[in-house]
Structure formats: structure tokens, C-alpha cells
Symmetry: C2
Subunit: 314 residues, 2 copies
DNA sequence: TCATACATGCGAAACGTTTCTATTGCAAGC
DNA sequence: GCTTGCAATAGAAACGTTTCGCATGTATGA
């Protein structure tokens, strides 16, 4: 392992000079800077992060905490985060599971992006009290050191329900996610508002955002043949479950029952008929979240953000 | 930030004693160990990784290098890796993009799992020369310090082609991936062997593992109405592209042309008709890779591994 | 000519741990 | 009672950097 010392020896200067040279500090002359840098190159010097981290008390690494790697859902989000993070001079690492949760207090990373409901609000607020920079994407949290970058669940949900109503459905089923889930609550609220203001009967069935719960929800929908139904599943996994149930039970998914989803998973467009879904740029979502986190870390003024959503097949 | 020093002061012992106590060393008495540990608890002490890493010259972190987060492909693989890594006392982080590539030489991590063709063989071998523990999942590499955990591409491919032949196809199209891609080469080889030994005409169309290239490959397949064709796409993305092309061009995907894929993506089963695909446990693949990496890090004897594949709709 | 300023470089401390070696005190063995 | 041995603890060095404060030498201005 060649270190800064070895370079100093070879270049016959002090280690501090080497450090300054390698960091392009104006405290060394142009000449020695160049000289040292080429020597470092020749010796294949690579700085030791542990040493740097210890001294600098920062790592320029930020992390996303995911509850699981499952699901196609995250890919685009992560791409957005990664690109923006690199742009801002950070490395992004992705972690899942409770072990990684020590990275932040252990100062291995400079900040976190949370989209993982297995972390409780209390836990996160505790970290926030300790001034660790945190951005959450999966809940609303009130704290000076925590920022939120959330979806505009309202607009998309409203559009979805209005679309169902336009198709002349007689009743709308809203298939919600877990009871305390922020997105689920918001989407439900917006959907209910539209249904009520348009005076369309509606019913809420509680699911938990996975496909099985959608399937089960499907079985709870009572279908009378002379009526037409709209089903607004609050995410696509559940929409898929409902689709499967209806398909297996020979329900006409165009004329008798219309399904709308949320998230615009790729699968939806391969279904026959395809299912409309609320969509938004996961890429932009991820990028925005990182931008806000960066502001937090650099102690710039920063605001909570809202990511726009749209509705359609697009 | 409460550190080991603060605890020492409070407990009125030396910092070395604190360190021993916190690490459950037998060098301190049971009594003081307990005493110090409760004090540490009370003070909310969390060890500083930078300090530990610097001193211990290791981090107990391993990383997966992915070329992108794109695609549902990785989810299960990562779950397998993560679970096994935690079991073995490691944290797993997921990195994508060229920036992260310094983590290893910078000693931020103890070893890497590579499934990212943007890293060249030379690059990896250079690291291997430096004794960094590396496991590759996407190529075959001959080096004492590099182990491979690969798919058994042969068995699955052979089964897929045999299945097509059993369906009485008159000709088989093999849609390959990138020319130098290890998996693609192996799958092609195995497929060709079967076709030749069974004396079925075949043709290879070069794709690049993405959906578009599959679509284009589809357009290159010349269909004569009195013949029946088998198409073996070397991954599911391309199979999907072909499916789309055929669907748009009204080709009968049951009687005129049969598509087989590789990887068993979730989407495949929602297609109508569903497409058969070669499958294998990505979870097991990931877990095995981590096991081998662990052996390498701990300098245990270890072997290259081969992950079994199967064929079907299951 | 002398004081001042500045460019350049050096030495040393610091970051928070772990772990080797040294010291102390006490019990056991003769 | 005196050595020996061991358990328990303390001291100090080390890991690899960065950065503060200081020293040196040279150029500048009056």
C-alpha cells in the first residue's frame, strides 16, 4: 500500500506538502505540485478513505435505504438518484435491511434518503435531532433537519377517478394500501373527494400494496351484471392482482369493470387490455430528492418538494 | 459526538480498557465490562467507523457493482446477496456507475461482486493482482484471486431448444446477446449444439439483450406461412421485443411461431400466451456469490461455483 | 538599508479507534 | 517472608490523512 508518506520520501518533501499538492492547494508552488502529482501517478497512489474520512469527518457518500430490493419500482428512481448524486460530487450506495442503519450514526455516510417504512418516524426523528441530514420520500415528517420529497398524490388520483366516472361507471371501488401509509392515505383522500363531489357511490377496500392483496380485494367486489364498475387500485401491484382475479373469473375488463392503477409499471402495458395508471417521473423524483439532501448537507436553505403526477397510458 | 474517550472519563478507566470492554475481550474483568457497557449505552455511544476502519484496516462491507439499476432482473439477486452477506457479518452496499469503482482500492470495502460489463477484464485483473477479493458473475476470469459464480447456461439452453424441437418447428432462430458477452456465448453454443445434433436448421440473429434489439430481430425473421418456427431469445427482454413485433404483425404465437426466453422475468407470465423461459434461482445465485466472496476475504479455500438452470413456465 | 509582505515549505497535532507492551497489585507456593 | 505468576488495567503507538501555525527565504517598498 503506497501512502502519502512514500510519496513524500520519494519526492523529498514533507507529507504535508504532498497532501497540499494532491489537493491542489495554492500553498505549494505550481512546480512542486506537478512534480508530486506525477510521482503519485507513477506510484499508483490511491488515497485511503478511512484516513481521509477520519480526518475530514465526512465521506461524500450518501445512501438510500430501501425496505427491499424487490420490485421493478425502484430501478428508475435509483438511476435518478445516482446520476444526480454523482453530479453533486457524491457516491450513492443502496442499502436494504436493518444492518445498514448504523452507517449514518457511524459516520460512514453524510446523509440518507429514506423510502423504507420499516424505519419508524421516531427512529428517524431521533437521528434528525442529532443533525444527521435526512430526506424522506415515503412519509411526511415535521422536523427542521428533515426534508420531504413527496409525490403529488392528489392530482393523479383525482384524474384517475374522474376518468373512471367519465366512462360511466356506477360505482367506484378504491383499493387502498396499508392503513398508515402516507401515499395510500393521500390517494384515498383525493379519490374520495372526487367521488363525493361527483356523487358517485364508492367503497374502500383495504389492501397492502402487494399483488395478493389486490387479488383478494378483487374477490370482495360484488358484481351485478347490469352495472358497470370502476376500480382504482392505489398501486399497480394491486391492480395486477385485481386484473388476475377478474381474468380468472371471466369478468369483462372493458365493458363491465375498468381498472386504474398507480405507478405505471411496465407490466401494465402488456396486459390485454392494457391498464391505465397514474404516472410520474421516478427519475426526476430521485434526482430531486438528492438535490434536497445535498442542500441539507451543505447547509443551504432548502424546501420540501412535490413531484408532479399525471394520468393515462402514456 | 460521544467517543470512547468520553466513556473512559466517565467510567474512570483508560480508553484501552473501554475498547476491550466494548469488544468483549477477556482482558477486562466481568464487572468492569458490564459497567462500561452500560455506561456506553447510557451515553448513546456509537463507534465511529472511520476510526475503526483506519485502525483495523477493514470495514466488513462488501459491494455489488451493477452496470445499472435498470430492470427487474436484479431484485431477487440482491435479496440473496444481502441476506447471505448479513448472515456472514457483512453489510452489503449496491453501487452503480464508474465513480464507485474506487471504493475497493480506497479500502472502503473488503471485497466486490461484479455483474457489470462496463468493467473490463484488464481492470478487474489489475485489482486482482493487488489481492483485492473479487467475485465475478458475468464472465469467466482466470486468476488466483478471482472466483467466478456463473450460471449453468448449458443445461437450460439445451432444454429450451429441445422443447422447441419437440413442438415440431421447422427452423430455429437464436437471438443472441452482445458478441463478447459470456452468457450469450455459452447459451448460443449450447443451443447450436442441440440444433445440429437434432439436424434442425437454425439461424443466429445478433441482438444486445434489450427489448428494442429483440423487436428488430423479430423483423428479421422471414416467415413462410406453411412453416413453423421456434425462436430462442437468449434473455427475456429480447423475447418481449420479439413478442411485441409478432403481436403487432399478427403472427400466431402458438401455431406458427414459438418463443422461448431466458431469465424468467415476471412479465412473461402475463403475456397471452405466456412465454416459456429458462429459469434459475437468482436468490441462490446471489447467496452463493457472497459465500464465495467471504471465503476469499477470509482466505479460506474456495471453488468456482455453477448455478443450476431449468426450463419451463414454472 | 531596513522593515514588511508574501510565497513556499515544514512540523506537529488531530481525527477515533485497536492492540502491543508495560505496570500494578494480589494470591499462591515454597 | 519472599519470589513467582497471573489477572486486571494503563500507556502509548499506530492506522493515513488534513490542516493549523510556524519558519525560512526572497522580493518589495520606503
Amino acid at each position: 500500500m503506497v501512502g502519502i508518506r512514500d510519496i513524500a520520501k520519494k519526492a523529498e518533501v514533507s507529507i504535508s506538502t504532498v497532501s497540499y499538492a494532491l489537493n491542489n492547494s495554492p500553498r505549494v508552488s505550481e512546480a512542486t505540485r506537478k512534480r508530486i502529482q506525477t510521482i503519485a501517478q507513477e506510484m499508483n497512489y490511491i488515497p485511503n478513505m478511512a484516513g481521509q474520512n477520519l480526518r475530514k469527518q465526512k465521506t461524500d457518500i450518501i445512501a438510500v435505504y430501501l425496505s427491499s430490493y424487490q420490485g421493478t419500482f425502484y430501478s428508475e428512481l435509483l438511476e435518478g438518484m445516482n446520476t444526480k448524486a454523482n453530479e453533486l460530487g457524491f457516491d450513492l450506495i443502496v442499502c436494504s435491511g436493518k444492518r445498514a442503519h448504523l452507517f449514518l450514526p457511524q459516520r460512514l455516510i453524510d446523509g440518507i434518503l429514506v423510502i423504507d417504512m420499516t424505519y419508524t418516524d421516531e427512529e428517524l426523528l431521533k437521528y434528525a435531532d442529532l443533525k444527521y441530514p435526512i430526506v424522506v420520500l415515503d412519509r411526511k415528517l415535521e422536523h427542521d433537519n428533515v426534508k420531504t420529497v413527496l409525490l403529488d398524490n392528489r392530482t393523479g388520483s383525482q384524474a384517475a377517478v374522474k376518468d373512471l366516472i367519465k366512462k360511466d361507471v356506477d360505482k367506484i371501488y378504491i383499493i387502498s394500501g396499508p392503513q398508515k401509509n402516507y401515499d395510500s392515505i393521500e390517494r384515498t383522500k383525493a379519490a374520495v373527494e372526487v367521488a363525493e363531489s361527483e356523487k358517485i357511490p364508492y367503497e374502500i377496500i383495504v389492501g397492502n400494496f402487494d399483488e395478493t392483496s389486490g387479488y383478494e380485494a378483487g374477490s370482495k367486489i360484488e358484481i351485478e351484471s347490469w352495472k358497470k364498475y370502476g376500480v382504482f387500485a392505489l398501486n399497480d401491484e394491486m391492480a395486477l392482482g385485481i386484473y388476475n382475479y377478474m381474468y380468472e373469473n371471466d369478468i369483462d375488463i372493458i365493458n363491465q369493470l375498468i381498472i386504474s392503477g398507480f405507478d405505471k409499471n411496465k407490466v401494465m402495458q402488456y396486459l390485454n387490455p392494457p391498464i391505465k395508471s397514474v404516472y410520474y417521473s421516478k427519475y426526476e423524483w430521485g434526482a430531486k430528492a438528492v438535490t434536497v439532501l445535498n442542500d441539507l448537507i451543505k447547509e443551504k436553505e432548502t424546501e420540501d418538494e412535490l413531484i408532479a403526477t399525471y394520468y393515462g397510458t402514456n
